[in-house]
Amino acid sequence: MEFTIEFDKQQIEAIENILQEELIDLGVQSVILMDLAGNVIVNLESGDKRHDVYSLAALAAGNYGAVSAMANIIGEQEFSLLFHKGEEESIHFSKVVEDLLLLTIFNKNVSLGFLRLKVAEAVKRIQALI
């Protein structure tokens, strides 16, 4: 049995700090760093809303796979960004590296433009770590 990317405790803590600073402190409700098998690597939540992150990650992995297959059909390698907009809450996905996704759940108080900027920042910092 081989493992995905392996993380040690320090790495996970460093990633948690990045996600806290760049996203949670900004007002984002929930961030999940996950792999494409649907495993949750890091999860941070703010406020009192708790999401079922394991189910979310499983579905996000499936969704990402489906959208990548769509990308291939139109001649793209993949779509590295995905965004689902809701009335109150929205979900943003960004690829971090091969096999790793960052999923962000945020509400109307956070603008999409700003969120994208911050996600890009966080992704860059995580990439530097792994």
């Binding site: 049995m1 649907g38 495993n39 690597i41 489906a66």
Partner: protein, 201 residues
């Protein structure tokens, strides 16, 4: 490809129920969901398509005990069995740690079982995995049909067709009645966790 989180002291284990469409994979998970309700905090997730067939997977997370101080999160998935969904079926196999192959005992489904097992083998190969090296349990489902006078394959025939080379542990079962559903699940969990434990040591 189980995921170990050294900070949360948690291992995530992915088990996939594979097999021909209409063989009883979803029925297995539904039974487990009912029977083990107490240990399952989240709802079972089913991604359906038109009609009542699974497009992506059914997903059922639950917790069982520990290995080496790590809590174990088991994630059970089923795949869509229909031929046209191979792309999604393959995706669900990404990072799989253990497999239950749910075969349909009905006489009429003999070829479909064989084809589905072959398809599993090929899909695993695309992830550089060998069906002989991954924990696998066979389930011969729908044994109850015999009582209704519906012709079913003998266990011998199923063993010859599907398990002569694999030599995997096997269970005759009836997912609608719940016969051997828990036994199949316990076997694949024990098998997968023990092969993981060896990796952790």
């Amino acid at each position: 490809m189980a995921l170990i989180n050294p900070k949360k002291k948690e291992v995530q284990v992915k088990i996939v129920y594979y097999g021909p469409g209409r063989g009883g994979k979803t029925t297995n998970l539904e039974y487990i969901n009912r029977k083990f309700k107490k240990r399952i905090q989240s709802e079972m997730v089913t991604v359906k398509t038109y009609g009542d067939r699974t497009l992506f997977f059914d997903f059922l997370p639950f917790d069982i005990g520990e290995i080496k101080g790590h809590s174990i999160k088991i994630q059970l998935y089923t795949v869509p069995g229909q031929v046209k969904y191979n792309a999604t079926r393959r995706l669900v196999l990404r990072g799989v740690d253990g497999i239950v192959f749910v075969a349909d005992s009905m006489d009429l489904r003999r070829e479909m079982n064989i084809r589905s097992l072959q398809n599993l083998k090929e899909n695993l190969e695309t992830f550089n995995k060998n069906i002989f090296n991954i924990p696998l349990v066979m389930q011969y489902n729908k044994r109850d049909l015999e009582e209704e006078g519906i012709p079913i394959l003998s266990i011998d025939t199923l063993q010859k067709d599907l398990n002569s080379r694999l030599q995997a542990p096997f269970f005759p079962a009836s997912a609608v009645r719940g016969d051997n559903v828990a036994a199949t699940m316990k076997k694949i969990i024990a098998f997968t966790v023990s092969s993981l434990r060896k990796k952790l040591e």
